[in-house]
Structure formats: structure tokens, C-alpha cells
Symmetry: C2
Subunit: 524 residues, 2 copies
């Protein structure tokens, strides 16, 4: 298991809500049955089903279990525990165990990112996270981003390779969490948060139409699928629920983010931003939700700067620059000699450079400089200076500009002025590790009261946990997916204007950033 | 395909009720879909499901179909036909075809007897029987009756052999009705009427407990099982519904008989009798139903008399004896030279012998005779006299006595006098081909007004057709199964007394047979 600090694997505390009512995808029911007598000689399967139907309504029993029921009941002295799986319109008996095992109910919440996969082992009885494991998505070797994955899927055997790759990643993570094969069989449900392409590749569905007009996926809401049919190595009849998508570019991961944020239940307007390999922006409240999406580039994942790296040991993750002297204080992950700079370190560096006046509002170095040394050669692992160059800054500004432009365009289109935004939700890596003050300083986050800036952590994983545990949350997620209106950025010529005009620090319109403006005044 | 005239393969007309409302196990729905546009780019699977949910409520789509839906929709210009299978609490999409194929909906009604299997091909759109085919149950070589089959199932690999044998029989009959493999895939539902043991063997469930106290089967109501899981060669996801059993000795075939008779909806009391390899008797009305069962012996299937044979070509099927001269008029099946006597011929012969005074009320030959020539040697296929001996008659009387004794005991136990019986239903072979007058004369049928004697034909097959076509009938069958009280004959010492006292023609109590009494007076 890699150290995957760039992917927030610990679910943010503020959103790990305790669900009002636990109604997990699978439920265990202890049954104290009556041994048949000549007076009551109902068939064994019927007795089990009738008892379960008292509490759960319609229950079906698959043929493969029928033959085992008489033996299990008799060997267990008629004290057995049934596992029922939600099949949408009713329940299906998927297991019967001797004795009372109703205290042992395991499920998985899975976040499949284009880059990283995180699997959480969940106690279905309490909702608690018992453990988690993360790794790179095994599909990376077949394409770094979604578009390249879709291209690979079109090659002979490509789709199968991609499906197997992500299944291998998931199944290896399951084995880390549950080393004994006997135990993996006790995992009887799973929920998945992922973008639309990741869901298609996981299910072995052709993703070609996702990137071809009119951008129609094969499926947005796949419903409940038995794990064995997908190839996830848990109980073969375990129901697997995928958070529903809105369409090709707004996937279940974003719907999950909205669900976890609660913005869809608030009268005030919120802005939700998730920036990973792709960026998604959602604006709305309890009455309406509008979303747009686009490639964000790997700026925050360490991919666009000379010394950029993922948030792994040796990455510079916090930086402060003395505005007078330009002296640098920094920390690295694991306190190891610095190997490069990860997203949070980059944002800190840019904020420090800007506040100290080392770069101007157009993000250009002042006084003829063309780079800035963050870590001097003698402190760096490779023995050479770790620097930020003008080119690095320009690359970053492209990502930031795209996010700002998209957000502005979306708001303009909806007719929502900046002043109406009352909350800002930052999801994913973008929302877990970025330093809030620095992110506001360079205009990546809006300049709201800091209490109104909420970092959701891995909201895709947390949403998967919630829908795993709650039928109400599943219905809520489906209602959100129905409600979101997709706003097509690429078809909009105004985007390029906005984009070009957005490459300012913190923003073209400084009035929107009063706290930053104030600090700039103070520094002068 | 054998000529299986001893099994009534044509459903009796009086019970082939036209169902008030067709609600078959699978239903086809033609969909004229909208090609996706940039304004409405819902996912293909979601569009199909949403359209189906408008008419059918909850619909699930299995993963294996999801991947095919985009291609089928596009190649068919968005004009497609969905096949929905009932899964109890909702519907499952099991097929999607190009164009409008909603007029082609096929299902099977299957009657699995211990001896004979009949498969009816049903048009699910109209309910009509398109064809039928019958053959011996391939399990016969592993045991003639239920007890021997259960013994065979206990041997190593025995259960699998029995399951395969009946599946082979069914699948061969399906191929006769539907010679093209492409066509069998168009059969998308099946319903089965059979006794409890036959259902267990078909499903591969251990039948051992059926004949061991407290006589608890594994399952009475198996619900809906996909054909592919059982091994029936039709559409692999076709739902298969088995008529529910009451217990080990009152199976779905009897529940089907009650359903077809309608006795469970009448205020007056009816008597239902089905005599095949086993005999089952049901007494009751809209308020209560009591049933008993026991081995009947093969008296009516040609197994207990010297020249007994099944109702196949060359069997003497109708006999009349001149009471004065003893001269015999007879007919054979297919007008072939006589080879033996089948059940209906035997009943005619006994009635003629009794009415002519050739045998007395204790069924003994008079005037020192010990046999009666039905067909003289020169007319018989084998060139020897076809006779009925005293031993033959005694064997037959044992079966008749057992039926009378069981019926009497059941009625006595319930406290229902003979006068209260207003209708008599005869099911199976017992009800299709036996000559009513002769059957009353020898006391096999009660002496009711002839219009109150209803022959149900293959009520197990007809019930299978009805539950295949109607959800209301399935619920009705399940309600009947819940309502029937089983009366245990074997545990009852009074049975032997009744049995010994029952070996009279037409019955111990002649007052119960006024029309026979009158004819006897006339003959004298």
C-alpha cells in the first residue's frame, strides 16, 4: 500500500455524519426458528422466508441457497443468521450462517479516482470505518487521463484490460484490508463513488460515446449489481451500488460530493469545486443545481511544475516566505530531505511570492528574476536547488484561470452574483490539504469568511459510505442526479474570453477578494 | 413423441377458462425511444428503464444486458421491444430486441408427473395453447414411484442423475415444440405443476426429508427461479414458477387442481380426487379445504391386471357387456387388434360384469367362474384370450377400496355427511378418460347428478398455464396452499377398518348410490 497522502483517505470529520437511521444495502437478521414437528411441518425454506418477510416484506431465496438451508438449520439447532441484500424492490437472501452472527456485518465504500483508488472497510452495524487502503488506479499505464483511457478501451481487448486493471487494484486493496479469503466472503455489500468513465470501465461497458457528441453514456444509474457479476472479490451475491451520474462529465463522485456537502438542502447558494485530474464545479441550493466540468490538468497533483510531485514522502508540503527577506521556511512529508513540491507547497509558495511582491498580479517575477529557490541544493535530496520557475507559475495559472473562468461563466449564466455565495465546498485533494489562507490569497478559493469555506475531504468515498449505509441517502443521491442541470463549457465561446481574463492574482476583480486586498495593503 | 393418451394432454375445455386479465410472468413492451441529442442526452440504459418504469414500476437491468442496449437501440433506429420478467417485487429487463416483436411472446406450461411429462407451448399474448408434447418422465428407469426415486436420490450422484433425467425429458419436448435453437430463446417464461418430490428433483434439492418424519420438504413455494439456473433450455433469464405445495404429500399439482376446479371459491362443499401413481383427495369450499394423500397403486394406469396396459394404441378402451348374454362389444385405441386393457376399459368391464350379475357386490365371480374373456384369442393381437381374472378384480378393488376408505375417513373427520357434497371433481387421467357411468356404477365416482361430476383433464397442466398467464392466479394458488389443512391418513388406525369395509360394489353403503341401486333393480 502506497502512502497516498495526495488522496485524502481519512474522511473529513465534519462530514462523517452519523446517519439518522442505518439501513445498509445488506442486513443481517438473527432467526430463532422452530424445529418442524408433525403439527407444524412447513418446509425449511418457507419457514426462513416467512420469518424474514415479517420484518422485510418481499424476500426471494436463490436456488443455490435453497439446497443448503435444511443442513444449516439442523446443524445450528435452528439458530441461524440470514443476510438479506437490497434488490431495489425487495430483498434477496444471500447467505445463511449458523448461530448469531448479526454483529459481524461488513461492507465496502470504494472511491475510484482516475488516478487513485481508495477502499474503506465499513462496519454495516455501526457505520464505522474499520480501515482503509489506497493505491494508484492500475489503469494508469493504459492512459493518464480519462480521454486516453477511452482511447485505450477502443483498442482490441482494451476494455477488458482496463476493467481487469481496476478490478485488480480494488481486489488487492480488499486483500490488504481482509487478508483471509474466508473474511472477504463476509463483506456483503459495496458502494462506489467514481466518475462516469470509471464506472463504465469497472462494469466493462464501452465508454466510447462518453467523449463523442451528444455525449451519452451507456448508463448513469446502474442500480444494484451482484459483486460476482462485476468481479469484485467479496460475497458473490453482495449488491454493489454505484452513485448515479448526471451524464458523461458529471459523475457519481460529484453527486456524492453534493450529497455530503448538503448544499442541495440549504436555502442559501453554495459553490462546490472538485479539482483532480478533471475539475467539476457545482452551483446551487435546495431549489436548483447547475454544474460544469472540464479537464483541469494536474497542477494540483504535482504534474505541471519542474519539481512538482505527488504528496509523497519528501514532498515540500508547507512553505512560508518572509515578505521582507524572501527567506523560506518549509516542511516536508515525513520530514525527509526534500525531493520536490506537492500541490499544497506550490499554493503556499505562490501565495508567499505574491504577498511579498516577488511576483505581481499577473504572476510575473519582478526585478528581472525568472525563478525562486524554495529549497537550496544542500538541503535537497538530489543535491540541486528545488525551484519554482516562471514557466511553472504560468502552467499553474492556466489551471487556476480555467477554474476561475468556468466558475465565473457558470455564475454569470445562472445570473448569480458573487455576493450571493454563502458557502464554498472544496472536495477531493483540492479540498483536503490545500492551505486555506494561501488558496484564498492566490484566488483558488473565494474570499469568504473562513467558517464558510468547508473542506469535504474525500467526499466521493464518504458519499459511498453513506449510500452503503442508508437507503434514504441512496434516494437522496438519485434525486440530486435528477436535479442537476449540466452546463456545457466547451460549447461556450465566452469561456475563452473569461479564461484569458482570469489569469490574475488573486482574480481579475480585486474587489471580490477584500481580505487579500487588505493584506496586500498591509504589506506595502 | 409417444402417444400418451393415458395422460390427458388436451386441456379439458370446461376448465380452459379465458383469464379475465392477462398478466403473464414475462411481458413484452414496444418502445419508440428518442435518439439522444445535446438537449436530452440521458444514458441509453436509463432512458429504457425510465420508459419501462412508467408502465411497470420498479425495473432492474442486469449488467449483461447493459452493454448491449446502446448497440441494439442504434441499429434498430430506437424502435425496440423490451421483455420484462416478473421477479416478485418488481420487474427485470431480460431482453431487448430490435423492432416491434411484442406480438411474439412464448411461454411454457409444464406438467411433471411421476410417470409422464407434458409440455404446452403457450402464446403469452393470447393465452392460447400453440402446441403440446408429452413423454415418459426419464426418471422412470431410476424408480417407478416416488419412494424409489427418493431412494435413488440418496445414492452417490443419484440426485444429479434424477435431475438430469427430468431435464432431458423436458428439454427434448421443448425441442419438439421449438426445433430451432433461436426459437427456444424466445420462450421467456415457464410455469410448472408437479408433486413435491418432482419439484425437488427438478431443482436438484435433496428429497430425503419428504419421506422421513416429520415429512418436511426443503421448500414448498420456491418462488421465481431463472430457467438457466435450473437447466431448462429456454431463455436463460426466463422466470420459472412452480405451483406451490402444501407439504410432502400435497404438491403443486393438487393445488393446481383446486385452482382450476374453483372449489375454493364456492359456498357449497366439493370433493376433488386425483388418482395417478399417487392418490390425493381434497374436500372443502370457500371457507376450508382439507386434503389427504396416499399411494394409489397403478390400477388405473394398467399396472395391476394380467392384461393391463397404458392407454396406448391397441388398448381396449371402451367395453359394454350385454347383461343377458354376456356378449362383449369393445373398441381399441387406434382401432388396432387388441393388445390389452387400459384403465377406462377395465372400469367399463367391471361395471358391465356387476350390472349383469356376473360378479356380485363383493366383486366375486358368480356361478363358479374365475375369469371373463373380454377379447377372444382370434381377435387379439397376440392370438390369446384377453381376460379379466378374479385376482385382477381383487387388485383393482384394493385401489378402489383405498380411495373410498380415504374419502370416507376424511369426510367423517371433518364431520361432513355425503348429502352435503354438491360437486365432484375428477383430475388427471382419472378425470379425463374414465367413462362416468361405469365409474359411478362401480363406486369410483360418487352417485351425484351427472352435471355435478366435472372432469378436469390435466388440471396440473392447465393450472400451470393459468399461473403462467396471470399474477392473480399465482396469488390465488399461494392462498390455496396456505389454506389447505393436511390430514394424515397413515397415522390413523381407523383407515384400515374403513379400507377393509370398503371393498364393496359400488360401496358398503348402497344408499349412497341411488342411481346404481335403481339400475340394479331394473336389471333383476
Amino acid at each position: 500500500m502506497l502512502n497516498m497522502r495526495n488522496k485524502p483517505v481519512i474522511l473529513a470529520e465534519q462530514v462523517q455524519t452519523s446517519l439518522a437511521e442505518l439501513a445498509p444495502l445488506t442486513q443481517k437478521v438473527f432467526l430463532s426458528l422452530t424445529p418442524p414437528t408433525s403439527m407444524d411441518n412447513r418446509a425449511d425454506v418457507d419457514q426462513v422466508r416467512q420469518r424474514l418477510e415479517r420484518s422485510h416484506g418481499s424476500v426471494s431465496v436463490p436456488l443455490e441457497l435453497m439446497s443448503k438451508i435444511p443442513k444449516i438449520c439442523r446443524s445450528a439447532g435452528w439458530q441461524v443468521t440470514a443476510t438479506l441484500a437490497d434488490i431495489g424492490c425487495g430483498w434477496k437472501l444471500i447467505d445463511l450462517e449458523p448461530g448469531d452472527t448479526s454483529g459481524e456485518q461488513l461492507g465496502l465504500a470504494i472511491d475510484i479516482g482516475t488516478t487513485t483508488v481508495v477502499v474503506y472497510l465499513i462496519d454495516l452495524g455501526s457505520g464505522a470505518v474499520l480501515g482503509h487502503a489506497a493505491d494508484y488506479n492500475g489503469q494508469i499505464s493504459m492512459g493518464e487521463d480519462i480521454l486516453n483511457r477511452i482511447r485505450h478501451a477502443a483498442e482490441p481487448d482494451g476494455l477488458r484490460q482496463l476493467q481487469n486493471a481496476v478490478l485488480d487494484t480494488i481486489n488487492q486493496l480488499i486483500r490488504i484490508l481482509c487478508p483471509l479469503p474466508m473474511e472477504t466472503n463476509k463483506i456483503t455489500a459495496a458502494a462506489i463513488g467514481a466518475n462516469t468513465t470509471m464506472i463504465h470501465l469497472l462494469l466493462g461497458l464501452d465508454p466510447a460515446s462518453i467523449c463523442r457528441a451528444p455525449y451519452t453514456p451507456t448508463v448513469n444509474n446502474p442500480g444494484l449489481i451482484p459483486a460476482g457479476e462485476i468481479g469484485i472479490d467479496i460475497h458473490s451475491l453482495a449488491p454493489v451500488y454505484c452513485l448515479p451520474s448526471v451524464g458523461s462529465y458529471i459523475g457519481g463522485d460529484v453527486i456524492g460530493g453534493i450529497l455530503v456537502s448538503g448544499m442541495h438542502q440549504q436555502p442559501d447558494i453554495s459553490l462546490f469545486v472538485d479539482i483532480g485530474t478533471n475539475g467539476e464545479i457545482v452551483l446551487g441550493n435546495e431549489d436548483w443545481l447547475v454544474a460544469c466540468a472540464g479537464a483541469a490538468g494536474p497542477a494540483l497533483e504535482g504534474g505541471v511544475t519542474t519539481f512538482g510531485m505527488r504528496a509523497e514522502p519528501g514532498a515540500v508540503d508547507h512553505v512560508s516566505i518572509n515578505p521582507k527577506t524572501g527567506w523560506v521556511k518549509y516542511s516536508t512529508i515525513g520530514n525527509l530531505p526534500a525531493r520536490g513540491i506537492c500541490g499544497s507547497g506550490l499554493v503556499d509558495t505562490l501565495a508567499g511570492l505574491f504577498l511579498g511582491g516577488f511576483i505581481n498580479r499577473t504572476a510575473r517575477f519582478q526585478n528581472g528574476k525568472s525563478e525562486f529557490v524554495v529549497v537550496p541544493a544542500h538541503e535537497a535530496a538530489a543535491g540541486e536547488d528545488i525551484i519554482i520557475s516562471q514557466v511553472d507559475i504560468n502552467n499553474f495559472m492556466a489551471t487556476k484561470g480555467a477554474v476561475n473562468a468556468a466558475t465565473d461563466l457558470l455564475m454569470e449564466n445562472v445570473g448569480c452574483p458573487w455576493q450571493d455565495i454563502s458557502r464554498f465546498y472544496a472536495a477531493g485533494a483540492f479540498g483536503q490539504y490545500l492551505p486555506i489562507e494561501s488558496a484564498v490569497t492566490i484566488g483558488l478559493y473565494p474570499d469568504l469568511p473562513r467558517s464558510a469555506i468547508v473542506r469535504l475531504g474525500n467526499s466521493s468515498g464518504e458519499a459511498a459510505r453513506q449510500v452503503l449505509l442508508s437507503r434514504a441517502k441512496r434516494l437522496e443521491a438519485e434525486a440530486i442526479a435528477e436535479k442537476v442541470t449540466y452546463f456545457e463549457l466547451n460549447a461556450n465561446a465566452a469561456f475563452m474570453d473569461k479564461f484569458v481574463g482570469s489569469k490574475f492574482l488573486p482574480h481579475t476583480d480585486l474587489q471580490r477578494y477584500p481580505s487579500v486586498n487588505k493584506r496586500l495593503q498591509t504589506q506595502l
